[in-house]
Symmetry: C2
Subunit: 406 residues, 2 copies
């Protein structure tokens, strides 16, 4: 597998565009991805019962449509809690994109992020779709503009691309996503779009996505609030020309490995760029009896407000970690647990068998004063492990989320 510089236009046959349409005050606010070759599509969506209109539309498209050719995305308005009218507007977005691109309405996926409870400004959206279709391009720049246009308060655009050889054929995967951020009275939203030219059956594509999301996007948390709009969409147009992947095996494994890399990198980018975050906080639970146990424990630690605030303070506060493990719901032996902190500045064991080691606070603080820090909790029970990603809880997180409309 080779990591390449690229965005969603890196795989063969994908075009993209990102523009300022006028939904937001200043920044780019509409993006489009297009493949003239029909794509198989797979998707995973928020489990929140309150689902935004585009989530409902995309679930239908991914399940029922023969193929997908485009995604149209707006930031600024989430089209959530907007009733029957909001759903109509969402369908209108797909219709309009279908019309300007001359493709079926049901081959257009739609995504929105931004203010909740507000209707889309449809005149601006329709004009935006027209401009997007005229600006579609296959260049690195076009992908970058699209990645920029889906940002809300993200501080960085988030893109990744890789290539993998399946037998003699080069297959490319690329993705862009946006994380937590808000421009108005709102919740964070996670949107992710992965493109690939791999030739794969729809069943195997969905299987790869549904399996991998458990180890990637479902393992990140910025604040424990599951958005109404969260969506991960994966499109494969088959143009790489490899023999179609229709079952598990070596080819599937190679594709899966590349997909996992793309998804994990994008997940970490979202976690590390969480609202107000100063660092990426990674929690590894190792030597668990079961995967479920490792998942429950690592997620409980990575979402603990007290632990997250300690990470912000560069404080080796292991008591909060052990405490968060204890209320995770997963059974373990507290008096067997070892805890380590690690970063590029080193690794230190701070707890052995449930009690503090004679560690140096100074060294611990040095290790915790990095842009990415890891807590490893060793349960000493079995062979399973899991990793969760989050970020620190900072003064800026509270400021961003309390001081809207100021």
């Amino acid at each position: 597998m080779q990591i390449i510089d690229g965005g969603v236009t890196a795989p063969k046959g994908f075009q993209a565009a990102g523009i300022y349409a006028g939904i937001k005050k200043k920044r780019k606010d509409m993006a489009m991805i297009y493949s003239a070759a029909p794509c198989k599509a797979a998707g995973v969506f928020t489990t929140n019962q309150v689902k935004a209109a585009p989530v409902k539309w995309d679930q239908k498209v991914v399940t029922e449509s023969q193929f997908v050719k485009a995604v149209v995305i707006n930031s600024g308005v989430a089209n959530a809690c907007t009733g029957a009218k909001g759903y109509e507007y969402c369908v209108d977005m797909a219709k309009e994109a279908g019309a300007v691109l001359d493709i079926p309405t049901d081959s257009v996926l739609v995504a929105s992020t931004g203010v909740i409870g507000k209707q889309l400004p449809m005149d601006i959206i329709k004009e935006g779709i027209k401009v997007l279709s005229e600006n579609l391009g296959t260049t690195r720049l076009s992908a970058g503009l699209a990645a920029e246009a889906i940002m809300t308060t993200d501080t960085k655009a988030k893109e990744v691309a890789v290539q993998v050889k399946i037998k003699e054929t080069t297959v490319t995967l690329a993705g862009m996503c946006k994380g937590s951020g808000m421009i108005h009275p709102n919740m964070a939203t996670m949107l992710c779009f992965v493109t690939t030219d791999v030739n794969i059956s729809k069943e195997m594509l969905q299987k790869a996505l549904s399996t991998d999301v458990k180890d990637t996007f479902n393992m990140i948390s910025v604040d424990g609030d599951t958005s109404t709009n969260d969506s991960v969409l994966l499109m494969a147009n088959g143009l790489a020309g490899n023999e179609e992947i229709v079952a598990e095996g070596a080819d599937y494994d190679l594709f899966y490995e590349a997909l996992h890399y793309v998804m994990e990198e994008l997940s970490k980018m979202i976690a590390g760029d969480g609202e107000g975050a100063t660092c990426l906080f990674e929690v590894k639970a190792i030597h668990a009896n079961t995967k479920e146990q490792a998942v429950a424990i690592s997620k409980s630690v990575v979402t603990s407000n007290l632990t997250k605030a300690a990470i912000f303070g560069h404080d080796a506060n292991w008591g909060r970690i052990l405490c968060a493990m204890g209320y995770s719901g997963a059974a373990f032996q507290p008096d067997m647990v070892d805890i380590f902190f690690a970063s590029k500045a080193g690794k230190i064991k701070i707890v052995e068998n449930g009690m503090a080691t004679d560690y140096s606070e100074e060294e611990a603080t040095r290790i915790l004063s990095q842009e990415a820090v890891t807590a490893v909790v060793d349960l000493k029970m079995g062979e399973m492990e899991a990793t969760a990603w989050g970020c620190d809880l900072t003064l800026d997180y509270v400021k961003i989320n309390a001081d809207y409309r100021s």
Copy 2:
């Protein structure tokens, strides 16, 4: 039922003391409650798998001892994650208190709150127990000193007392508690002690406590972190002289009503004095189909970081509330929900049938700028309801929990 000015010494036969022993740098750090008349005791404890030594000891005492006569409490050191030695020290505290008070070791309850992972300074503790026994008093002041000595970063001592007539007999109940706070690298701890002179069987006492805690202490959340030390202890010495309550009925109901008042008031005091909090945040879920549904929804909203930050910003951010309801795990119809904000400044409907009303942001902000604010979510499904209490998420919460040892 009558609310009276008093603390844990209000019921007949209870004495208390609170002193500075030297565990903390400056503030009072040890307390004692004592009843010469033997008490029936009931307790509920943290569900965290990581349990502090005194929790383990108290669970044993409440279950196995014939009677209880004293509680000895220290703040400053939590005696959690302290291994076999920590448990020995806890038993030593009970032994020492038993010796100076001339009562059996197994009639002494022990509670600790403060730094985790650190052993108790036993010389100071033993000397403190001696001084406490010499300072026991029945006055209002003695109760107040005890309430003060169990504080960590609580900003106010928390006490409540009530009297209720059971047939012709006046029965008194009183309680003190401490909430979230830390003085060192640590987690918050909730400790609550309720005294009463009611004459009641041990079974009915535990039943009343276990039932009521579900509607009171289990409905508060400051930060979602369940401590290793949480304990609610209830002692009844029978001195009121009412006919012993041995079953449900009118007498039990009167006692239960008074107990519920004490427990609810103390719960709200803890929530409103959460770390860094500027206000008490109450969430009522009404017209639910089941109690479980109402509990899940109200707790999900009251623990949502985004909602809590909005409350801090006096922002009528209903989207975050609807979102938190949606990921609560409880089924409901998002497009039927009404949402209101209320406080002593008024009441306003901001959502009707899942969409924003034409409410005045100015009026909403005015209502939300109070020391206690309520969000009412009306599910319009059935007849059940639940109330949860928390506080806003503030800049000070992050400061307190990031900037320890500065």
